[in-house]
């Protein structure tokens, strides 16, 4: 059991890094608290796996420190860190039975055989592998194999955290939810820190209490699934979380107001107060498709837009429209009438967010 702290951590695969983009992980500080269920969400190549391998010790970071319960572990090898890691593809020891696979980490640290037996049986029970214990691990199906790899992490009492590196990639869709639920259950039962790497937002939000969204070598937001949805701290979060992603409009600030083309955008005063005339960088205004309001008739404060098309997705509809040359999307309920050709939209103030150089205005950055 441990709290994992990343202090001024950075990593590069290049020999002499010059600029930020040479880094797989840009300098960051982060804390994974003891007992939390976390997801590390991001697109391929954003540095998720690098970060995981740094925590487990398979990779040594070029800068910064990793602390387990405030003790520096940079110099410790993976076998000394008491971390379990489950990989994208199940790793099992082919020639062994399921029982021996589960017993393997314990035998390596010379646990007496009777203790091994009770521990393995206990873990097999939880993972529903009891019937398979005598079987060769080689003959198992992919999801069972992945359960065995997970089980090897669970048998040890000394494990400080379990790291999952996209563990459900090779699992059949109908079994995915089952395994995910199992993981959640294990988390509750063992009170163990779990970090779950994925590029699937659904997987992340069903598993984790808090999600760290990683983009371009940095954690751009760390929060609950709800926070990520309602208050994306970075344009990438808005775009990556939610389906479809957030709408963004390039905005112009003048006379204390924000404009998109010639339309004034309704934005709460707290945002406007933080914008200065001088150096604003690139300003964008974002709103989620779920919060865009669509009207059939002109109302107070609505903007006229051209309707492009509407997709019916069964329980809801996605309306695509064009506003001042920019394509945007709105999510409508199933029974809402879809205006053809012309529609009027309004953006509720409370859901309209302002971004400066991709970061939410008013945030620490």
């Amino acid at each position: 059991m441990a709290q994992i702290t990343l202090k001024a951590l950075a990593h590069t695969y290049s020999a002499n890094p010059v600029q930020g983009s040479d880094y797989a992980i840009r300098e960051m500080n982060h804390v994974w608290e003891q007992g939390g269920a976390y997801a590390l969400l991001g697109p391929s190549g954003c540095g998720k796996s690098t970060m995981l391998n740094i925590i487990s010790g398979l990779l040594n970071p070029s800068n910064g420190e990793i602390l387990f319960d405030n003790k520096r572990v940079n110099e410790l090898k993976p076998e000394e860190r008491n971390i379990a890691q489950v990989f994208q593809f199940p790793v099992i020891y082919d020639t062994m039975t399921v029982y021996d696979n589960l017993a393997f980490p314990l035998r390596n640290i010379k646990v007496p055989e009777h203790k091994i037996r009770s521990k393995v049986n206990e873990v097999a029970e939880i993972l529903e592998l009891t019937d398979q214990l005598k079987k060769k691990a080689k003959g198992l199906s992919a999801d069972e194999k992945q359960k065995v790899s997970m089980g090897r992490g669970l048998v040890r009492d000394d494990v400080s955290a379990i790291l999952f590196d996209e563990p459900l990639t090779v699992i059949d869709p109908q079994l995915k939810w089952k395994l995910r639920r199992k993981l959640k259950q294990i988390h509750e039962q063992f009170n163990i820190t779990m970090v779950y790497v994925t590029h699937d937002q659904l997987e992340a939000s069903t598993f984790a209490d808090k999600i760290a969204v990683m983009y371009d070598g940095q954690i751009v937001q760390f929060g609950t699934p709800r926070e990520l949805f309602e208050e994306p701290a970075h344009t990438f979060v808005g775009y990556f979380i939610g389906s479809p992603g957030m709408n963004y409009m390039d905005a112009r600030f003048s006379d204390g107001k924000l404009f998109f083309g010639e339309h004034e955008l309704p934005v709460s005063a707290s945002f406007l107060n933080q914008l200065t005339q001088a150096d604003n960088g690139r300003l964008q205004v974002g709103i989620r498709p779920e919060f865009v309001q669509i009207w059939n008739k002109q109302q107070d404060g609505t903007i006229e837009v051209r309707v492009d098309y509407c997709e019916d997705l069964g329980t809801y509809k996605i309306l695509t429209f064009t506003l001042a040359g920019q394509t945007m999307k709105a999510r409508l309920s199933e029974d809402q009438k879809v205006p053809s050709d012309k529609a009027y939209v309004s953006f509720p103030k409370q859901w309209t967010k302002v971004y400066r150089d991709d970061f939410l205005v008013g945030d620490a950055q």
Binding site: Q85, F104, P105, N108
Partner: protein, 290 residues
């Protein structure tokens, strides 16, 4: 059942059938033909049934050669397979050192067989050979031309030198094919170096080892050129292996009948032993328990 009898599709198999017939079946049948007849000249021949087979099976010289052959093959297998795995484990895996290692290990495989024989024939000579003379100089009496044990050692050494690289290269390729994840998982499971070898590397090498064992068994069981050049089968008959006996019989004495019968027996032995090896290794893989 109403099966369609007009199976014209069988004609499509004909080319393959003809090819196989000419490349394997007909030559083999020629040998079978010789093995059951006593032929004086093309018009004077007598069917003798299994007589040649009975004769060669009771031939003391052939029996001795067969025994020698088995001892030789098992000896070199028991040296070359573990040694090859060991070499493969030690070979560098990254950068220039890896290419250099591969080239160095592959060199013996590139040398023609009778050149290998000649190299060791000279290398091992007690009077002028680097190896033989050096041994004698440091007080170890060594002469493969007169001492049967020394002759055996030299032949085995030569084969190990010549063919261990094949096993090593096969294993090297097998090791490279193991995904890095397995090693990472093993580190996290706190596996010892030995456990990594025993439970990850060795099981993943099984397939290349089957190829290695079968190739080395077949080749060593048919060995001819190198010992022929090195010792000529001597001293006495001590390093005369099966092929050499066969050649002596077929070409030296022109006893085609017994030679043909013997060839068939030879062929069947190789087939049988290969099957045995294959079955044993496959069973080991399936029944092995942690």
């Amino acid at each position: 059942m109403n099966k369609i009898e007009n199976n014209k599709a069988w004609f499509l198999v004909l080319p393959v059938f003809i090819l196989v017939a000419f490349s394997a079946i007909i030559p083999l049948m020629t040998v079978v033909n010789y093995s059951v007849q006593d032929i004086f000249d093309p018009s004077t021949r007598y069917f003798v049934g299994t007589e040649w087979f009975v004769q060669v099976m009771h031939d003391a010289e052939l029996q001795a050669a067969l025994l020698r052959q088995f001892v030789f093959s098992l000896t070199i297998l028991s040296i070359e397979i573990p040694l090859g795995i060991g070499v493969a484990l030690l070979m560098p895996t990254k950068g220039k050192a890896a290419s250099l290692g591969l080239i160095l290990v592959a060199i013996p495989l590139l040398i023609p067989w009778n050149v290998v024989g000649t190299i060791w024939q000279i290398y091992g000579r007690a009077d002028i050979g680097l190896f033989g003379a050096a041994l004698n100089a440091i007080g170890i009496e060594y002469n493969y031309a007169s001492n049967p044990t020394h002759a055996w050692l030299t032949v085995v050494l030569m084969d190990v030198w010549h063919w261990t690289p094949l096993v090593a290269l096969l294993c090297y390729s097998g090791l490279r094919a193991i995904p890095e994840m397995y090693y990472q998982a093993a580190r996290i499971d706190k596996a010892s170096r030995w456990a990594v070898f025993r439970y990850i590397q060795l099981p993943k090498l099984t397939n290349v080892l089957i190829i290695g064992v079968l190739l080395r068994f077949m080749d060593s069981f048919m060995i001819y050129t190198e010992p022929f050049v090195l010792t000529g089968g001597g001293p006495g008959n001590t390093t005369t292996f099966l092929s050499q006996s066969l050649v002596k019989q077929a070409i030296g004495q022109f006893d085609l009948g017994p030679a043909a019968a013997f060839s068939l027996v030879y062929f069947l032995i190789i087939l049988l032993v290969c099957w045995l090896f294959y079955t044993i290794i496959m069973n080991m893989q399936n029944d092995k328990r942690g």
